[in-house]
Each structure stands twice: as C-alpha cells, then as structure tokens.
C-alpha cells in the first residue's frame, strides 16, 4: 500500500503569497504577474519558460487545445516537484502554473520560473521542473484540429 496521507498536502508552498492552488489556473496565465514574484536580492539568474500553443503539430493544423486535470493530485505533485527542485538546486524562487480548459493558438499553457544565485542552476532546475510536470502530473491535452477531428495527447511534443 503506497497511498500517501490525506489532504491538505503537507508539502511546502513554494511561493506563500500565491496560495496553494495557484499552480492550476482555469484562466489565462499572467506571466508578468508571476515573473514579478521571481526577483530576489540573492538571485543573480532568473529563468522563465512558457509552453505555448503551436498552430501546427505533426503536420496538422491545430485550431485550439483543451487541457483537463485531476486537480487534488496535480496540485500536490507540482508543489512536491517545486520543493524538491528548490532543495536540490538551492533555488531562491520556484514557481509553476499550468492552465486548464480551452486555449487558443499562442496562449501560454504552462509557465515555470526559477531563480538562483547562478544561472546554471536556474536553467537546469527549470528544465527539470517542466519535464516532470509534462510527464508525471495528471494533466492531459486534447488537440482540436482545423479538420474538425480531435486527439488526446499521450506523449509530450514540446
């Protein structure tokens, strides 16, 4: 039996001022607002990643996307991923937010922001966090194509 403890999750909230549930958003991601939380007087390097909706995927024209999530587990897992990265790379800031619902071309589906004393750590941690969010967290993408068909994603293509 490996079921973990009941909610509320006992993991560190990476940015207290943002609240626990900020990591999943039903509305447009506020990159600028999130970036304003990232600056830290001891951090010489801030890295922001934004995963955005492309107009084509595997040769097909994309009309829009929809994301859905199993929120209780997704929120807990993202906080755990951020806390582990914060510890491993000595980050001053670790923020992630994933959008759900319907997204148009060019909109941001996910943002990850890291800040560290030096840039190597900020880049490495940022890549690690987005990789884990894409592959481990219960969030699913459905692509709606211009020809009227749709397809649930089952592997990463960004």
């Amino acid at each position: 039996m490996i079921r973990s403890s009941l909610s509320p999750p006992q993991v560190e909230v990476s940015q207290p001022s943002l609240g626990v549930d900020y990591v999943i958003s039903a509305g447009p991601l506020d990159l600028v607002g999130l970036l304003s939380h990232a600056h830290h007087p001891a951090a010489g390097a801030v890295v922001l990643f934004s995963g955005e909706v492309r107009d084509h995927n595997k040769g097909r024209e994309v009309a829009y996307l929809e994301y859905e999530t199993y929120r209780p587990l997704a929120v807990k897992m993202i906080h755990e991923i951020l806390a582990e990265a914060r510890e491993k790379w000595g980050l001053r800031t670790a923020i992630a937010q994933h959008r759900i619902g319907r997204l148009s071309i060019g909109e941001s589906a996910v943002v990850v922001i890291t800040a560290a004393a030096h840039r190597r750590e900020a880049y490495e941690a940022n890549q690690h966090i987005i990789h884990r969010i894409k592959h481990e967290v219960p969030i699913w993408k459905c692509e709606y194509f211009s020809d009227g068909t749709h397809q649930w994603g089952n592997n990463c293509n960004c």
Partner: protein, 77 residues
C-alpha cells in the same frame, strides 16, 4: 465504488460512474473495467490509479465507498 476517468479514457468509459461489481484491489478493478469495455486493455495497462490525492498500487485494499481515479499517461505542457 465510484470511478472517475480522464482524458482518452473517456473514449471508453463514462467520465464518472458507479461500479456495482466487487473489486478488492486494482487488478480486480482493471478486470471489472475490461468487462465493461474489452477494448480498453492496452490503455488500462498504461494507467495509474489514485484515491484522493495519492496513488495506489495493487496492495491497497479498495473499500466499498472509495472513489477511484483512473489516470492515463500525462500529456501536460
């Protein structure tokens, strides 16, 4: 037992439904789901199971009033 499925699993099952048959663990639950839709076998093999905010494996003893979440491979980002 209540079942919630997500994403591509909704092409095979209702998003939420009550499972009347007995399933004491995830292996038995998988079999009950195949009884409903035999085409979901390959997909179910790639899925994880959760109760509340924690993953469960086959050692977890399912209870009558559990809500089991069936989680296909992630495709966020």
């Amino acid at each position: 037992m209540r079942i919630h499925v997500y994403a591509t699993l909704k092409d095979y099952f209702s998003p939420e439904f009550e499972l009347e048959a007995v399933a004491r663990n995830t292996d038995e639950l998988k079999q009950r789901l195949l009884d409903i839709n035999g085409q979901a076998g390959q997909l179910l093999d790639s899925c994880r199971f959760a109760v509340e905010d924690g993953f469960i494996d086959n050692q977890y003893k399912l209870k009558e009033n559990d809500t089991v979440i069936i989680i296909p491979p992630s495709s966020g980002g």
